[in-house]
Symmetry: C2
Subunit: 168 residues, 2 copies
C-alpha cells in the first residue's frame, strides 16, 4: 500500500513545529541608509554555535524531481539549524517531520508548499527530505552549521511514502 | 571640483582587498542528495563570532538611486563581516575603501559593478557606501553580525565624490 503525501501551504503558524518560514509576512521594516533602504531585520534565528560551530553558506543547485516521488530516506542535523532560501520563484515542497518523531511515516511526515519566494529555516534536529525542486533546475542559498562533531543523521522510511499530490 | 568615480567589473581578484565575491566562479560543486544536488560549499567566510556575536540574516529592500549620485558618507562594521546577496538580477555598484584607508576620497574609494548575480562579503572593517541599486527596487539578503558592542562607524567624505559613470 502506498501512502500519498498531500501538501499544505507553507505558513509561519503551520510550520512552527519544524522551524521558521523566511518571508516578510508579519515583519515591519525599518528605514535605514538615509531613507534609501527598508530593513527587515533578523528574518530567522541562525543556530550554529554549538560546540565550536560556525555559520556557513552554500549554494545548492537542485535537479528537478519527477512526481510521483518516492520518499524513502530523510535526514537531520542534530547540532544546528539549516536554512534554505530559494533563488528562483517556483513553488517547491518542504518535506519534514518533528525532531522528536518516534517513527518516520504517514503519521509524522508533513509536506508544505512554498510559494517560491518563501524560504525555510529548519530547527536543529528537524527531520527533512533533501530539497525537492519541480519543473526545472533551482538554486537555493543554504545557511547552516560547519564545525566539529557529527551533524548528520539519516533514517530510511519503511515503507516509503509517495509524494504525488501537491498544490501550488 | 567633482571627482567622478569609474567602476570596474567585480572579480574575485580585483575585490580581494575588500572582501569576497559570492559567485560560483572558481568553485567546484560536489554531488550530494543521491545525485540530485550539486553543492557549492562555503561560498564565503562569515566572520561574526567576535565578542559574543551571532550571525544574523536580514532582507534589505533598496530604492533605486538616481545617477549621478553624491557619495558623501561611508560606513563600516569593525566587529564582523557583512554579506550582500542580490535577490534580483540587475547590475549594481559596490562602493568600497580599504579598512586601513587613511582618508576617504578619490584616491582610496573604489567602485565595482556586480553583474547582478554576484554578491559580496565585505571583510570586517571595509569602508563601504550603503547599498546602491539602479533602475528599480532591489532586494538583497544581508548576512552580518548581531550582538554586543558598537559595530558601526560612519565617516563623511570631504569633498563628496560623484558616482556618474558606470559599466554593466
Amino acid at each position: 500500500m502506498t501512502t500519498r503525501l498531500i501538501s499544505k501551504p507553507l505558513t509561519t503558524q503551520a510550520f512552527a513545529e519544524f522551524g521558521e518560514v523566511i518571508n516578510l509576512e508579519g515583519f515591519a521594516g525599518e528605514t535605514i541608509n538615509y531613507g534609501n533602504t527598508e530593513k527587515f531585520a533578523d528574518l530567522l534565528q541562525i543556530d550554529t554555535a554549538e560546540e565550536g560551530g560556525r555559520t556557513a553558506m552554500h549554494l545548492y543547485r537542485s535537479q528537478p524531481s519527477t512526481l510521483p516521488l518516492e520518499i524513502a530516506v530523510m535526514e537531520r542535523h542534530p547540532m544546528g539549524s539549516q536554512a534554505f532560501v530559494p533563488l528562483h520563484n517556483r513553488p517547491f515542497p518542504v518535506i519534514v517531520a518533528a525532531a522528536d518523531a518516534q517513527h518516520l511515516g504517514a503519521s509524522t511526515v508533513r509536506v508544505f508548499m512554498s510559494n517560491g519566494r518563501q524560504g525555510v529555516n529548519l530547527r536543529r534536529g528537524t527531520w527533512h527530505h533533501y530539497q525537492v525542486s519541480l519543473g526545472q533546475v533551482c538554486d537555493y542559498l543554504v545557511i547552516d552549521r560547519a564545525g566539529p562533531g557529527d551533524n548528520f543523521e539519516e533514517q530510511r522510511l519503511e515503507p516509503a511514502l509517495l509524494l504525488e499530490v501537491y498544490s501550488g
